[in-house]
Symmetry: D2
Subunit: 337 residues, 4 copies
């Protein structure tokens, strides 16, 4: 394909608008040809500055536009299923922001719809797989130089949580990333989840169980533990250490510029994910555009989106019931072999 | 006291001989005046080079020697109770290597005997409390600058385990240190233990559950998790990160000399505890000598030794029963305020 | 401008071919419309896979092509002057790889030709100004938080030098980057150069004075010292530490993924600049494309290229004459205020 | 020798009093038996708390005391020569704080007096040779694993200088340490010195040339450069990087406890040498006591003290004359082979 890929962006909120910027100004080989939002004004505001881009309130209508070659879904999670099914109907490849859908049942419906097409159409937006540090971590594990992985220690810290954030969302919204990372790095499904609840930080909003400590068990016998702390106040830190039979590999220590002043040496900690993972978002989108233009679908699949939903559902139950909960997973279809 | 402190060293094995060296060559204000070992030849071999030092096979006999002012117990754990009670009978202050005794019941007997004396006589050899990094970690927590501690993440890795090491000993021998560190840093007793068992490393001896992942819950609501991995092959690593309400503090990252060569930058990892904690052993002994010469008993108490035994006993049960086990603890006597 | 910028790439060697790839696959808003090389086959080989791209042996002929909006010069240094003057004649904006030209006299001619146009047309390829670490270093200095800069310590190490590399080229080819970085970070011209010559490494080719130690003095009274070592064998390291009145800021320590294995902890060192500065090249090109599409010329100017040439000429004399040499610089034209 | 070494401490100022504390409370195998100071009250105040210690105003009188086995000189530099000669007269071994004497001429007289004795009596207090990081650096160089050393980059920063500190003292008092370290690490004499003078920091007292940048050339062809900055305001930093043919080794990066809080990660910088080199002072003294009790003299010799004086004298001239100055050195006597 020599012409740029025409992309319909579904959702014109913060994330959608940022993807529009990314497609227009950062990524090579693509342009935005349609913007969709339930709020017509918002769709129009994002579409207007883009040359030749139309605004819509209905995803299916946008997908019917002539120069739409692919779909990027950045609307709220509950709207994903409808948009995905519409894309399937128009036979368009999709980059779908996480979560695939908000729960395992709906994810399973999408999974079945894609199987009915007989080929993969969806890449799920687990952008950490495109982060240079995570990709290097995986590459090191794959060399086998450190031996078989036994444990993964994860830290996931945010400065402060949004007002609408609930105790369950620490699992379903935040730890969802570590669920995917664990599956991706270890190459095994997660089979059980335990959630421990230390006394909440006094900086957490009243009633929010923050921090939490999550332990995943995997089919391969390896463990993955996650400290999730969304009101840590001091910065956005995402770290991982893989402990293998002959050594460990760790990322997220944070460096770049070091200063020594006023009796301290050290560096700055990013304050949010837009800074820490800017590069991963750029690379994810470029990879999707490149694959799509080659007629391929790569990256995290619908199955990965479904598995993450199933793990998170088990995690939320583990949190509330205070016990170890096993993950229930459908059989993996051949399509996602 | 102006004369050097005369010390009877009980146990002339590797650890005891090293303490003799430390007292004679490193520490100020003390000398070895008696050496005890069940093996008379071994006692004699260690005592002979020391000016004015006698050799014995019976602890009580050694304690009766005129120039013995204090006792250092470095014999195997099962021999500790008898030596401690003998020291109490001779009214001598004691530095007792960990464990205080091998189980909570015997530890409780020692605790009661010391209470009967009406004053502290024992310092238990939890030498991490004298390690410069751990003391700095505690000092930072005590400033309150980082807020209340919520979690402690511990790593404890050895190159390889001795042939007699059992799955239970990963808890009772190794994690015993983290049990004490957790209590000391948080200022709260440990109330429950959970032990997770990932698939063992292929480098672990047949049948040894190594690594293990231990989670302590404390009376203050804080968590402490421990990766214990005694056949990690690559080095001796002891690390801790305290996660507090406004920040984290971590030790054990390892530095000193950095080299860049052959495509890699970095530093050496110590290969065992004699290298990593040499300084802590020196400082522990000097602190004990100094306090003893002032007529004081400081440092980890018999209660600390007993509490560690109780936590480890619960941990061993948690390991074997595959479930969360609560720690049973006697009431804390006033003597240990 | 809504259409992509049409770029003629002059020089189809390793660097030119890499820029073609970058324009086609990485950068947003540009495409290659002409490729020039003295070797017609090489030009053709690079141009052929690019849709709508023509091949040429003469820069001026390529610049006459209808869809050429801008010129990227990546030919050998001696060919730069002719290509730059041709671009001026066609009134085309230029991104010119360093060096601007090989010596101060020719650089001065280009400077005068650009002044005759009455506006800036040239950005010189000092890509370190686009490296995220260097830009952060400059940003920190500009906050004034660390006070006035007093010294800059630079390290510039390559694994091995090419067979044609001469002792003078350590200055003119390698240290040229630090000459620019020093001027850019300090905002002052370099006034004198001293070069010290330690005994060469036995890994350096016979007759090559490697390493060298260069000290720049600046008009503002600050020093900048450079270790240049092009046969260090172990990796490609570029480091800088700015020492200011109230603190220091340093970059290039190298991190990302850390491993602990076989008794060592640490990370990999990049092996060449294509790895270390890949990002800087991408950002430089995107910045140039974006500015050009806005009708602007930004980044390092012809004056910067000329000044670097003058500093390097003084440096080469300092190397050979074994003494401090003052830098001779024309008066700075108002155009480069 | 089984009795503790009896030490006369000459000089009861801050440094002398600290050595008394170190001998009494830290070091094994020694005790203070005499204290000397020109101020009788000060000598008395330091001697009084020490059991069996006498106070004196005359070094020779103190050396005549029966239980004085060795001498530690911690008086001001100009008083060293007389005390050293008195110790030679009493045939006592000496630990002499740096500088050996304030200038090359007086150092040469001491050198000749010691030669007349026919055996070494003096250890000079270059305590960096006992710092764990410097000793590890030297050990790495001695393995030959990194190849021959080519350059040494040194940083030496103090928070603020004393009111009496002069521009020359940056060389003779501070850089004297790097002069010794360079000679010790490289095993070659320093042959020439160049001093560059950047614009002074506005935090430096009026008239003080601070920072300075010193470059040593050595007989082996290696360079050693030193940033000396005694009013850096932010901390006490001593760093060194040895650049060798196959790699580099560096110390002084500073670690231990790392915190992440308020948007920054990093560690504390020591604020003065008593913190950074406490360990080196302890080890130096223990090594001297141990060697003396064995009847040996080890460590930095009178020749090392003389050579440092000669290098510093050349450095002070290089500073004031603004040019490279060669170091004038007597022939090395066989005694110091």
């Amino acid at each position: 394909m020599t012409a740029p890929l025409g992309v319909a962006v579904i959702g014109a909120g913060r994330m959608g608008a940022d993807h529009v910027r990314r497609i227009q100004e950062v990524v090579s080989g693509a342009r935005v040809t349609a913007v969709v939002d339930v709020d017509a004004d918002r769709a129009e505001a994002v579409a207007a500055p883009v040359d030749g881009c139309t605004a819509h309130t209905d995803p299916a209508a946008a997908m019917a536009v002539a120069d739409v070659d692919a779909v990027l879904i950045a609307s709220p999670g509950p709207a994903h299923e409808e948009a995905l099914l519409a894309a399937f109907a128009h036979d368009l490849p999709v980059l779908c922001e996480k979560p695939l859908t908000p729960d395992p049942a709906s994810a399973l419906r999408v999974l079945e719809a894609e199987q009915a097409l007989g080929r993969r159409r969806v890449q799920v937006g687990f952008m950490r797989r495109y982060d240079p540090e995570y990709t290097r971590l995986r590459a090191v594990l794959e060399t086998g130089r450190l031996g078989r992985p036994l444990m993964l220690h994860n830290r996931h810290r945010n400065v402060a949580s949004a007002s609408f954030f609930t105790s369950s969302m620490l699992i379903s919204d935040s730890v969802a990333h570590e669920a995917d990372v664990t599956r991706w790095l270890f190459g095994h499904e997660i089979t059980a989840v335990t959630v421990l609840r230390p006394t909440p930080s006094s900086a957490a909003p009243e009633g929010l169980l923050d921090p939490q400590f999550v332990v995943f068990e995997t089919a391969g016998g390896a463990l993955s533990d996650v400290e999730i702390f969304v009101n840590c106040q001091f910065g956005y830190e995402v770290q991982a250490e893989a402990v293998c039979e002959r050594g460990t590999a760790r990322i997220g220590a944070g460096h770049g510029l070091l200063t020594s002043t006023e009796g301290r040496w050290g560096g700055a900690i990013p304050q949010d994910w837009t800074e820490r993972f800017a590069d991963a978002y750029d690379r994810q989108l470029q990879a999707w555009v490149d694959a799509t233009r080659r007629g391929e679908v790569t990256g995290p699949s619908t199955w990965d989106g479904y598995a993450a939903a199933a793990v998170c559902a088990a995690g939320v139950r583990a949190l509330h019931e205070g016990r170890r909960v096993e993950v229930e997973l459908a059989e993996r279809p051949a399509l996602y072999g």
